[in-house]
Amino acid sequence: MIIRLLIVVGVLLACALFALWWRRREGRMVEAHGLFDRRDLGIGAREAPCATIVEFYGEGCAPCDTVEQRLDKIAAEVCDLRVVRFDAGDRLDLADRYNVRRVPTIFVTDPDLRIVWRASGVPTEDAIKKALLGPEWAGRPNPAQEPAESR
């Protein structure tokens, strides 16, 4: 019975370690490289949003709904932010091109649509905002946060 108990403890320990690793990895914004095509995103040549977030979602994906709500909230707060969504199942070409392995996956781009950050899973609202507006932000400053005299 002791051996059986040890096996159960071992399985639980392995699950706990995996869960810890998973929680650290899940939704973490990581630096990324690449460039989105304006035509793919439906952004005109003269349009220049301060940043663009591209979300790949999936049908029947509950975490995707959470990400969508967070992005909508941030889009309402951050001036001139463009959010573009793709169903990864419908746009397999884009999912393959940008190496989207699971949904939800989001990309944060600079004004030139260069990919700066990406995250798989459900990033926190703070993590997305830091990616957009933090000191590492490669794009131009958020107009909503610029002092009035500098506008």
């Binding site: 019975m1 059986r4 108990l5 096996i7 159960v8 399985v11 639980l12 392995a14 699950c15 706990a16 995996f18 869960a19 998973w22 929680r23 899940e26 999936g58 049908e59 029947g60 994906c61 509950a62 990864a88 199942g89 419908d90 397999l92 999912a95 699971r102 949904v103």
Partner: protein, 141 residues
């Protein structure tokens, strides 16, 4: 649509039953949970005995836990995976009488259910979504 909380509760309950089964060498836990998962797979998760216990506890204790809606297809596929693994475990216990085979497959299911209950990571659901993408890719080529 199903309640995600019920799905996670069911996973926790089945994991506990499977772990207790291993500790006391109760082979019957594998076919018992296999049948419970099979019912959910065949008739829909609203008929799953595991999910029913969640609704019963919630109602009995008047718990005000909000429903977290989730598409049914991925968790249903996950239950099918659990059913298949426990079927192999049952065959291991009762047909070929290979205890190592039986407990290995039982513990795989217990571990996956533990992950679902503790982190919300549903490996079966992920497999379903990957499979769906591959089938869509196959249809387009």
């Amino acid at each position: 649509m199903i309640d995600r909380n019920g799905h996670r509760w069911g996973a926790a309950l089945s994991a506990v039953v499977l772990y207790v089964g291993l500790i006391f060498d109760w082979h019957w836990v594998a076919p018992a949970i296999c049948v419970a998962l099979g019912i959910g797979t065949a008739f829909g998760l609203r008929y799953s005995p595991l999910g029913a216990t969640y609704r019963f506890v919630k109602r009995s204790l008047s718990l005000q836990i909000p429903v977290v809606p989730e598409e049914e297809a991925p968790p249903r596929f996950a239950q099918l995976m659990g059913f298949a693994f426990l079927l192999v475990a049952t065959v291991g216990f009762y047909t070929v009488e290979n205890m190592a085979l039986g407990w290995t497959f039982t513990m795989i299911v217990a571990a996956l259910q533990t992950l679902l209950a503790s982190t919300g990571l549903c490996v079966g659901c992920e497999v379903y979504l990957i499979g769906k993408r591959f089938s869509a890719r196959g249809a387009t080529t």
